[in-house]
């Protein structure tokens, strides 16, 4: 087996680096939508409506108990077929949209559990105290509860973000060319030469991003905890 030429390395690294933003954007957007959706699901699960609560529990159980790969395929192949019944044609949508949709829904289930547990950790007396000085529900939520929830939730959020980042590597199976996809395309063009080295290289990329996320979460934790 021949070693890879130095210029090929440089080219490959440049190609993969060019895809880093895409991976980050997919992770970021999914986390953003997942957080809002997760908040809604968590509020439903904490709420009074028994039917809605059962539905939310059902959805969370399904998402947490099936592989993200299966979910990706279900959304990619299933959703267009289902929507076709209502005469909505989304077959020509970009694969990226489906990937974003899947990852958002997927991470929302995990984040909703995170939000729920941190909400319970803050405790009801904080609400009572906020009400007693005349705050409305939304005011109490925004000024009193959410800042405290953030402290509880942050380490957990970091774990979820890292997991999601790694899970985006399966998006290539539906044709989204991210970091992993770029490496696979390169391998395909070169008849699978130097597979080992290239996968080591790609794992270094993921590792570095993960370390960066860990560090920034750690810094944020320090900032939040200082206020206490």
């Amino acid at each position: 087996m021949e070693a890879l030429e130095i210029e090929n390395w440089v080219k490959l690294i440049a190609q993969i680096t060019a895809k880093v933003p895409l991976t980050l954007v997919v992770t970021g957007i999914s986390l953003f939508f997942g957080l809002w959706l997760g908040l809604v699901i968590a509020m439903v699960r904490l709420g009074q409506n028994a039917i809605l609560r059962a539905m939310a529990t059902f959805v969370i159980s399904f998402v947490r108990c099936t592989p993200v790969l299966v979910q990706l395929f279900l959304v990619f192949y299933g959703l267009p077929q289902v929507l076709l019944v209502f005469h909505i044609d989304i077959n020509d949508w970009d694969a990226l949209v489906f990937a974003l949709l899947t990852f958002s829904l997927h991470i929302a289930a995990f984040l909703s559990e995170m939000i729920r547990s941190s909400f319970l950790a803050v405790g009801k007396d904080q609400f009572d105290a906020a009400y007693s000085i005349g705050m409305s529900y939304l005011q109490a939520m925004r000024r009193i509860i959410l800042p405290q929830m953030a402290v509880h939730a942050l380490p957990n959020f970091g774990n979820n973000a890292i997991t999601l980042l790694k899970e985006t590597s399966v998006a290539f199976t539906i044709g989204v060319v991210d970091m992993m996809g770029q490496a696979r395309i390169y391998l395909g063009n070169n008849y699978g030469m130097n597979m080992f080295e290239i996968y080591i290289l790609i794992s270094l990329f993921y590792w570095l991003i993960c370390i960066a996320i860990e560090r920034s979460i750690g810094r944020m934790e320090k900032v939040f905890c200082k206020e206490r």
Partner: protein, 232 residues
């Protein structure tokens, strides 16, 4: 073509069901070996054994920081290279081609779960008050005895829910193993789906199957937890 052919999904369900043992084998083997190795790594970190401690930290960080799919590929293509190198250096007979993909997959999943389990074991061992170990020493036990008889039974109770999570993660992780030519639930579903363009039905089958397995695991862990708690 109908939108969703339920009959087809039900007809093909047994075929997918046949692949369950493979999924469970990978998960069980990786879990069992990972637990033993993870325990050793956890000890390295708790007792701060000079070089091994550092290596373990790097290893765990690497495994937790890279996708499972990448780890699978790295080992699947890297292990034969390593075997070849060993063969060249030492002359030992290493038939890399004779090793089945399943063996590489088992190694990859073990390597992966070892890292996660070592962290779980480390945190659960640390959660046990240091006084317990001191009390064991005071009774004249050795470190091994103290760990085995006093600390581990208590740590196990703390670690059990996390072990359950790792196991469920492993089961879901096995859906990637088709990438290295091992045929399990997802692979069977994909193959059948590819034959007749019935993707939705087959992925529906697969997801139901995964769901059932994970649900059963969750229940089993809950029962175990209750049992362990009842002892005290």
């Amino acid at each position: 073509m109908t939108i969703f052919n339920l009959q087809f999904a039900i007809e093909q369900f047994p075929a997918v069901l046949e692949a369950v043992p493979m999924t469970l084998t990978i998960a069980f083997v990786a879990m069992a070996f990972g637990m033993v190795l993870g325990f050793l790594l956890a000890l390295c970190r708790i007792y701060k054994i000079p070089v091994l401690n550092r290596l373990t930290i790097i290893y765990v960080s690497f495994i937790r920081g890279t996708p499972l799919l990448v780890q699978l590929y790295v080992l699947f293509y890297g292990l034969p290279l390593c075997m070849e190198t060993v063969h060249q250096w030492t002359g030992l007979h290493m038939p890399a081609a004779a090793v089945s993909p399943l063996a590489y997959a088992l190694v990859a999943y073990t390597v992966n779960s070892t890292a996660y389990q070592s962290e779980i074991i480390r945190s659960s061992l640390k959660a046990i008050d240091i006084g317990q170990m001191e009390a064991a020493y005071a009774c004249g036990m050795t470190t091994a005895q103290g760990l085995w008889r006093i600390v581990i039974p208590q740590a196990l109770r703390i670690a059990l829910p996390n072990f359950g999570n790792v196991f469920i993660g492993l089961i879901k992780g096995t859906s990637l193993v088709f990438a290295v030519k091992v045929v399990e639930i997802m692979a069977v579903a994909k193959v059948i789906a590819g034959d007749g363009y019935r993707f939705l039905e087959m992925y529906f089958d697969a997801s139901v199957l995964y769901w059932i397995i994970c649900f059963l695991c969750e229940r089993a862990i809950a029962v175990l937890e209750k049992k362990l708690r009842a002892k005290y």
